[in-house]
């Protein structure tokens, strides 16, 4: 497999700051993988996203050491606009992503494509498709500024998906959404993965990460402290010391283990708990 995102010994310091926000970070993400960046607030997750999409250092300036390679090309060799087509970025705060120059949702979603000079007929088709996909057709004529937080979050995601970038960097896309809306967003992300997109997601909802993501990057105080397949990272005793939320079922399983109930494996999804417990019962009867 080819690496889509490759970071080698990356450190970064914002201008006028004394401390590095990112410290010597190296990892490689293969094309088509769904990787979740987790870590407590202030650990450097959003800065890491900004590095992948070239805003560090193109836009924020500051000092970047090491190499960031996106699809075989060093980030310093891209124009910011070229990167924008390759890497779609969905803002953490949907309240600031809305362009402010369009007065309805349909045009807001079309805005990016217009800027790329795509023919009008094609824009219409693509916007229609995405509005449907993200379930916001009913909002098409609404002013983006009159939407609720959850609705804006969907519009923000739609505006990026419509551009069809190879890489999607999504920063906490569900923070304002109810549980069912959240599930729907994860389903959309899964669909993007099926279309071969490379996905980087920042998220705190571990139950959903356990269900949908392939790999984890664990950030702690600017360092990448753990990385690997989701299941392996949650099962590693080291994970506990970073005080990050476990999937709820994993938290319960760990407490059960401490209370002396042996489990054959550490469940990370709700439906696995029964399995883990049943197997122990079978073993006990043998």
């Amino acid at each position: 497999m080819t690496a889509m995102i490759d970071l080698k010994n990356v450190s970064y310091r914002y201008p006028v700051s004394d401390d590095s926000v990112l410290k010597n970070i190296s990892f490689s993400i293969e094309k088509g993988k769904f990787t979740a960046i987790i870590g407590n607030n202030g650990s450097g997750k959003t800065t890491l996203c900004n590095t992948i999409r070239g805003f560090v250092p193109h836009f924020y300036k500051g000092e970047l050491d090491g190499e960031v390679i996106i699809d075989q090309t060093k980030i310093t060799d891209y124009q910011l606009g070229q990167l924008g087509e390759k890497v779609g970025y969905v803002f953490q705060n949907p309240f600031i992503q809305v362009s402010g120059v369009k007065d309805n949702v349909f045009e807001e979603v079309a805005y990016g494509l217009e800027n790329l000079g795509i023919p009008v007929e094609e824009i219409k088709v693509r916007v229609e498709e995405v509005l449907k996909l993200v379930k916001i057709e009913y909002l098409r004529d609404k002013n983006p500024f009159e939407l609720s937080g959850g609705q804006r979050q969907r519009v923000a995601l739609a505006s990026i998906i419509v551009m069809d970038p190879e890489i999607l960097v999504i920063d906490e896309p569900t923070s304002q959404l109810d549980p069912i809306g959240t599930q729907q967003i994860f389903e959309i992300i899964r669909l993007m993965k099926e279309r071969g997109k490379t996905i980087v997601l920042v998220e705190h909802k571990m139950d959903l990460i356990a269900e949908y993501a392939d790999d984890l990057l664990v950030m702690h105080k600017g360092e990448l402290v753990m990385q690997g397949p989701v299941r392996e990272v949650f099962a590693d005793p080291e994970f506990e010391k970073y005080q990050i939320q476990y999937p709820h079922v994993t938290e319960i399983a760990l407490q059960l283990q401490q209370s002396g109930i042996p489990l054959t494996f550490l469940p990370i999804r709700d439906e696995e708990l029964a399995d883990a417990l049943n197997r122990t019962e079978v073993a006990a009867h043998d």
Binding site: N41, G42, G149, D178, H248, V249, I252
Partner: protein, 270 residues
Amino acid sequence: MTELHLTNVSFSYPDGTKALENLTLSVTSGERVAIVGQNGAGKTTAVKLMNGLLKPTEGSVLVGDWDTKNHTTAQVSRKVGYVFQNPDDQIFHNDVESEVRFGPKNMGFEPERVNELTDWAMKLCGISEFAEENPYNLPYSVRKFVTIASVLAMDSDIIILDEPTAGQDKIGLQVLGNLLQVLEEKQKSVITITHDMEFVTDYFTRIIVMANRQLVADDNAQKVFYNTEVLEKSMLKPPAVAQMAKLLDFSPGILSKQQLIEAILAQHSL
């Protein structure tokens, strides 16, 4: 001590869009209530009516003995503090401490009390170390705590938190939990809108469920999360523990992690 009474409250926007229909509920002083429901269910509209940001088109909202219709939002907000869903709608100072200090100072409190409340609120929200920072240099989740502190510092009897759990990590959720405890000890009423059902079951007993601009249930957590009709009507997802308990065929009622662990341990010791 201020009680809150909403009686048959409806609200429509000037263009006729209905946002809330016939809501009746009371919150006694010192009570802690969670409001849950889908986006667009009318939760934020309901709480904006409670602090006078919106005035009912029908029915009445009583804050203590004040009808919000007869008082300005500025007056009502001395009794009912509202923390906005989006922190950026609220913050307007260049450093955290000035932001927090603004409320109590504006209330006309004695300078000493202003200092005390400012320090207390910043500490309770875990932002004392950022006192000198520009709020906009802080992560979204920390900015949310700046806005919570700003409202707490006004020392109102009733406090409304609109989605304080959004984007919070484990540590942020612990700070919130602790804050609820402290406010309860101070006999403050706290009304919290949230989508985090685990947070709800960890810290709240009374739950108000809204759907399609109406109240669907106003009951304790056990009754709400094990009531299929309420769950379907409001499209709520019960907390993970309830789902696990169901998958393990335990009888209804389990909501907390501790309850589930005990049930599993009991089964194993048989």
